[in-house]
């Protein structure tokens, strides 16, 4: 695997990304498709704002009472037959899952797409323990073959074109090269069907978890989620605590918004409500269900001023409309989650020191906040985090000095005028300072300023 990109290298990553013409074309195509679909999906909705209000309220209510909802979920899932674990961090969750598999001698696992499993680097850990983990979502399967991380939370292989995917399949699966998406999909269907039927265990995430019933909810289009959770006798689900919603009646608010927000569909092809293990007399359902409830920093985030990021339902709309994400793609962020929600969540999960350059990755255009179905105040959170970054001193010293100078000059009209004159005179010199090439993109300050004309 090529050296993984880090958030600290965001600018360098983005410069490399901008030179990747294949990726840029893929991103341009996807931006257009996503926006068209989204518009179509919401065009027939009579009262979108009240839908958003309802969803936002439910998410807020959960965050305000999270402890209670987590306990309720755990209790109900347990009485339905699941074994529920509370994992404090990534390492704990990996260890729990590895132990479950080891204790049952399960060496072959099929996996439905789970961003949380990416967050904790589950696959690598299991593979080290000698477990074969096969991603079954087509996009995840593609990036798994390429030994890359997903570049988008819904469409993991968004950055790749059909030729690249064709080459991957030819190289790794021993099939003739084709770049026809239909043929490639059928190849994947055949290969993965075998894996589904052979697997000893299925690992999934969960889009939501329902406190009242102890159910986990899975949305997919491909059907791999259903296969992973019903074909092997052992099912392991990993999810973070903020995914809980109070009851099944609340689920309709999210069914209405998630697919439309994500891909413009009224409903994804499949949605499963999985409640515990198979009951006597039933012929569908896992015989063993293990649910790992992961914290990994959520309680800390909940206690802070950016807690509203936990309302996120992972629809991907914010990154689909983001001009920065659209230009550089997901890998440049060097994080599990890219785009606007990714900047915020990563800064909170990884800490400011490791991820502060991500806070530059926004023009503060605000379109992300506009499209968020659950009203996460993304724009406000970005401002808040920039403020925090300055307070923590993680800003370039030249910038800090310039801002301090600004703070003095702005209060004094005399100094301000003087400053205008000085910058005009020194403009040719200023733009020679390394890092100041931007000045060449700006016009020169004028001699006859407006204030002079008005005096």
């Amino acid at each position: 695997m090529s050296k993984p990109k880090t958030s600290l290298d965001f600018r360098k990553n983005s410069v490399e990304a901008l030179a990747d013409t294949a990726m840029r074309e893929a991103m341009r195509n996807s931006t257009a498709v996503f926006s068209g679909h989204r518009e179509q999906g919401f065009s027939t909705v009579p009262d979108l704002e009240s839908w958003r209000d309802r969803a936002s309220d439910i998410r807020s209510r959960v965050l305000d009472n999270l402890s209670e909802y987590v306990d309720k979920f755990a209790a109900n899932a347990t009485s339905a037959g699941a074994v529920v674990y509370r994992a404090k961090d990534a390492e704990a969750s990996r260890d729990i899952i590895a132990a479950i598999l080891r204790d049952r001698g399960a060496k072959k696992v099929v996996k439905a797409k789970s961003m949380v499993s990416e967050e904790v680097y589950l696959n690598a850990h299991l593979e080290e323990q000698g477990v074969e983990v096969v991603e079954t979502d087509l996009g995840e399967y593609i990036v798994q073959l390429a030994k890359e991380r997903p570049s988008h939370i819904l469409a993991p292989a968004l950055h790749k074109n059909r030729r690249q995917i064709g080459e991957l399949f030819a190289k790794h699966l021993g099939v003739d090269y084709t770049d026809d998406p239909e043929v490639l999909t059928k190849i994947a269907r055949k290969v993965l069907r075998k894996k589904f039927l052979e697997a000893a265990a299925g690992i999934s995430g969960a889009n939501f978890a329902v406190a009242d019933t102890g159910s986990i909810i899975l949305f997919t289009n491909e059907g791999n989620g259903r296969m992973v959770t019903t074909l092997p006798r052992l099912h392991i689900a990993i999810l973070t605590i903020e995914k809980i919603i109070p009851s099944l009646t609340d689920l309709s608010a999210f069914i209405r918004l998630l697919p439309r927000s994500a891909t413009g569909q009224i409903h994804s092809s499949y949605m499963s409500i999985i409640t515990g293990t198979r009951n006597p007399g039933e012929e569908t359902g896992a015989e063993e269900l293990h649910i790992v409830l992961l914290d990994n920093g959520r309680w800390d985030i909940l206690a802070g001023e950016c807690r509203e990021i936990l309302k996120c339902i992972r629809c991907g709309a914010c990154m689909n409309v983001c001009p920065v994400y659209g230009s550089v793609g997901g890998h440049a962020y060097g994080s599990t989650y890219p785009g606007p929600m990714g900047i915020i969540l990563t800064t909170m999960l990884e800490g400011m020191e490791k991820s502060h350059p991500l806070l530059d990755a926004t023009t503060l255009c605000g379109v992300c906040a506009d499209v968020c179905p659950v009203r996460v105040p993304l724009l406000k959170l970005l401002y808040t985090l920039r403020e925090r970054r300055t307070k923590e001193g993680l800003v370039p010293s030249l910038e800090r000095t310039a801002m301090a100078a600004f703070g003095l000059v702005v209060k004094s009209p005399t100094l301000f005028s003087w400053g205008q004159g000085m910058s005009r005179i020194s403009w040719p010199l200023l733009s020679k300072i390394p890092g100041s090439e931007t000045l060449e993109r700006l016009p020169k300050p004028v001699k006859d300023t407006f204030r002079r004309r008005m005096s």
Binding site: N29, S30, V33, F34, A80, D137, L138, G139, I142, A155, P156, A157, L158, R162, I165, P181, L184, T185, K186, A188, R189, L192, R193, F196, S215, N221, E222, G223, N224, R226, M227, T230, L231, L248, T249, L251, S252, I255, R256, T263, Q265, I266, H267, S268, S269, Y270, M271, S272, I273, I274, T275, G276, T277, R278, N279, G281, E282, E283, T284, G285
Partner: protein
């Protein structure tokens, strides 16, 4: 909303997501539509547990012993939701949801009286004890993971037919 309206809306929405749709007035029409839909397909699996299923069991030559080896499954499902054009499968009464998942073609029969108008109607109809698996199916299996080009028939069925009877 009248039952007729609900059925109409359901069929319209199911069609818009790529399901084949049929409204059968009685068991005879049901038999005819099923025969027509699976006329070129074999082998076909049918659980044969409900009355409607019993009416449409395929002839011996076409019959699959199980859903693993079947090209198509014909079965009655729990219900449907008009608002989204979804059918609802449930694991209660020993139903095997895998039957409608593994074969390439799923033919789902829905009783007219089991169509819910909205998602809220469906969820409020559920009692305190719910089955292990409730799955909504809205159209055939699909993906757009390659260049966001829609391809139908990934892991689940490539073809879904819904018959309201």
């Amino acid at each position: 909303m009248t039952r007729e309206n609900t059925i109409d809306i359901f069929l319209k929405n199911a069609k818009s997501v790529g399901a084949g749709t049929v409204l059968a007035a009685d068991l005879d029409e049901l038999k005819q539509s099923v025969s027509k839909i699976i006329e070129d397909t074999e082998p076909v699996y049918c659980p044969g547990k409900t009355d409607k299923e019993a009416a449409v069991i395929p002839p011996e030559e076409k019959r699959a012993p199980d859903y693993f080896s079947a090209q198509a499954t014909v079965e009655e499902v729990f219900g449907a939701i008009a608002e989204t054009g979804s059918i609802v499968c449930s694991s209660q009464d020993g139903r095997e949801l895998q039957a409608g998942l593994l074969p390439a073609h799923h033919v789902a029969i829905v009783a007219r009286e089991n169509i819910f108008s909205t998602l809220d109607d469906f969820f409020s109809s559920l009692g305190p004890e719910i089955p292990t698996n409730i799955t909504f199916i809205t159209g055939p299996s699909r993906t757009a993971d390659i260049e966001l080009t829609l391809t139908v028939g990934v892991h689940g069925p490539e073809r879904l037919d819904v018959i309201v009877c």
